[in-house]
Amino acid sequence: MSSSREKILAAVRANQPDELPLPTVPSFEGDDSVEKFTSIVQGIGGTVVEVTDAARLPEVIHQLFPADYRIASPLLPEANVPVDAQTPIEVLAAVDLAVLQGEFGVAENGSIWVPEANMLHRALPMITQHLALVLDRRNLVATMHQAYARLPSVGGYGTFLAGPSKTADIEQSLVIGAHGARSMVVLLV
């Protein structure tokens, strides 16, 4: 195994060209408004709900989702499925709704940065049937340049999550709800 390593590196050294310069990437700015972010999220199959007061969050969740949903969330006292990194798969698989904190949103593509620390379990944002991400409206950036500039580190695991899971693998027909969440709502506080 290590012999392949040496062999590959030697071949790379022998074959790579003289060094070419690494460019500096400018921070292309853009529209970071709630309107822009909202229209893009809708365009990729998600919804945005404006929650006027963070204290109204449980009430809004109650209005949006049926009462008997099994909910996993570190943000709601109503959450009835406790989840942590050791939660067995069968328990995770039964979650109807996960309500998690998003760190910041990117207006140009509707994605939201969700680091591992906000997920309870790494698989929760994908295995849940429905996903709600809570996002502070002041935490919007325009483009991916500002997004990565906000990340001093990506931690152990983290994802830019943009809308519900989708596929168009059958005749290019768009179907929402492939393997991950069937719906994704952004709760703007």
């Binding site: 392949s4 944002p125 596929t167 290019q172 027909s173 492939a178």
Partner: protein, 456 residues
């Protein structure tokens, strides 16, 4: 079999060919809309190209930097010189964990290495979880596109396949219902798999992270439920800095499908507590391509598929006609590096219109390389005899004005008097299979020109 022979098979079904052509062109148009809505897109292309050029010029450094940082993060890094070693490493890891149930998300590299048949031969139940990949796995076919693996199929084909393998009702061809069936079927697999294998879209040297982009969420679901995640990457996936991802995440999906970003753009840097993360770095011919100055920048490819969607030949011949893991224009410049003789016809599967080069988000000069491969193949004697001899004859005629003049005269007379069946014979004049030769003019331009000069 040559590309054109295999295309003939695809072209037998006119209706399907027309649909294939139109559908891929529609994807190209979605790409245009997304690109035109991004004012700095051309600057991003240049940056992406420059970052990749730089990375390839210091690849030894970045490979080692990535390895060092990944190891510090608790990731186990493996090196594979070729496809066989890659497959051995993956199987070894599975055996070490006593794993027989494996889910896999999309990875063109594992297709290139033919990992699935290798694992199946060794008793591993490996399940592709990307919907398109799962469809073709059930049909025992290869992907026909790097982003849309089942684009050669119609919903009726998928309906039949699911009826046969997943017990859906016969004649149920509804994409929504078929996708729901696949969701339920694959959830069972996700929940019980011990190991998950993924591809890698980008590997960040400065953080030791691998980035995986999907729309379905199958990669994240698989690797986050399994005890062991094996990420397989070609060595050219490296980029130097985390901030470079801002450039690549902005161009990848806009070029591929016209989306602003994939649903999941996931960064894996450390294994979850109590779990394992392995990265297999694969050469398999890449260092050889790095040593070909005319062709090395094909290693900048980020597998967006834009060159396929735009290519008039790919759209009308289908991915399987290329008989190579990566089809289309990019496949036609990557494949001769792997096996020049086997893939000798691919650089000729192009009109050299240059559309592939125009849409390539990392500015690979694809059509120039297609042209250059033709020169290499000519020198290596990998050109069919009919083409070789007709070109030789033509170069002689074109070099002698008198012979050219005589040839023209004979052709003008011949076309007038010879029977149609003789001048348009399919066997020796393939040009005329779908075309009519022009009405021969009375005189040639040169004759006319000489007359005008006399009049003056």
């Amino acid at each position: 079999m040559s590309h054109s022979k295999r295309s003939d098979i695809f072209l037998l079904d006119t209706e399907r060919t027309t649909w294939h052509d139109a559908t891929l062109w529609f994807v190209r148009q979605k790409r245009d809309k997304a690109v035109y809505a991004t004012p700095e897109f051309q600057e991003l292309r240049q940056l992406a190209s420059d970052i990749k050029d730089h990375t390839l010029s210091r690849l030894d450094f970045y490979l080692q930097q990535f390895e060092e940082n990944a190891r510090r993060n608790g990731v186990q890094v493996h090196w594979a010189a070729d496809a066989h070693e890659h497959n051995q490493i993956v199987l070894g890891l599975l055996q070490q964990h006593g794993a027989t149930r494996v889910v896999k998300s999309k990875s063109m590299l594992t297709e290139e290495c033919h990992l699935n048949p290798y694992l199946i031969k060794h008793g591993v139940d490996v399940i592709d979880t990307d919907l398109g990949e799962r469809i073709i796995q059930l049909r025992d076919e290869a992907p026909s596109h790097v982003v849309l693996p089942a684009i050669h199929l119609k919903k009726e084909d998928v309906g039949d396949t699911f009826h046969l393998h997943l017990g859906t009702e016969k004649g149920n061809n509804d994409p929504q219902q078929l996708t729901e069936t696949a969701r339920q079927h694959l959830r069972e697999k996700f929940l019980v798999s011990e190991v998950a294998i993924s591809g890698v879209n980008f590997a960040v040297a400065e953080t030791g992270s691998v980035v995986v982009c999907t729309n379905e969420g199958n990669a994240d679901l698989g690797v986050n439920l399994a005890k062991v995640h094996i990420a397989c990457m070609g060595m050219e996936k490296l980029i130097p800095r985390l901030s470079d991802l801002s450039v690549f995440t902005r161009i990848l999906t806009r070029s591929a499908t016209g989306q602003p970003i994939t649903t999941y753009t996931s960064h894996f840097s450390k294994p979850a507590e109590g779990k394992e993360l392995h990265v297999v770095i694969v050469d398999n011919g890449r260092t050889k391509q790095l040593g070909r100055p005319d062709f090395r920048n094909s290693l900048k490819c980020i597998r967006c598929g834009a060159c396929m969607n735009t290519c008039p030949v790919y759209r009308r011949s289908g991915g399987h006609s290329y008989d190579f893991t990566i089809p289309g224009p990019i496949g036609a410049i990557l494949s001769p590096n792997i096996d020049m003789r086997k893939h000798a016809s691919l650089p000729f599967a192009s009109t050299l219109c240059g559309s592939c080069t125009d849409v390539c988000p990392v500015k690979i000069d694809i059509h120039t390389q297609l042209y250059k491969w033709r020169q290499v193949l000519g020198q290596e004697g990998e050109i069919p005899a009919s083409k070789k001899w007709s070109m030789r004859l033509l170069s002689r005629v074109l070099a002698k004005p008198a012979m050219y003049g005589l040839g023209g005269k004979v052709a003008r007379q011949g076309l007038r008097f010879l029977p149609h069946g003789l001048t348009h014979g399919k066997g020796y004049n393939p040009w005329a299979i779908a075309r009519e030769l022009p009405e021969p003019p009375k005189q040639s331009f040169r004759e006319w020109y000489a007359q005008q000069m006399v009049k003056l």
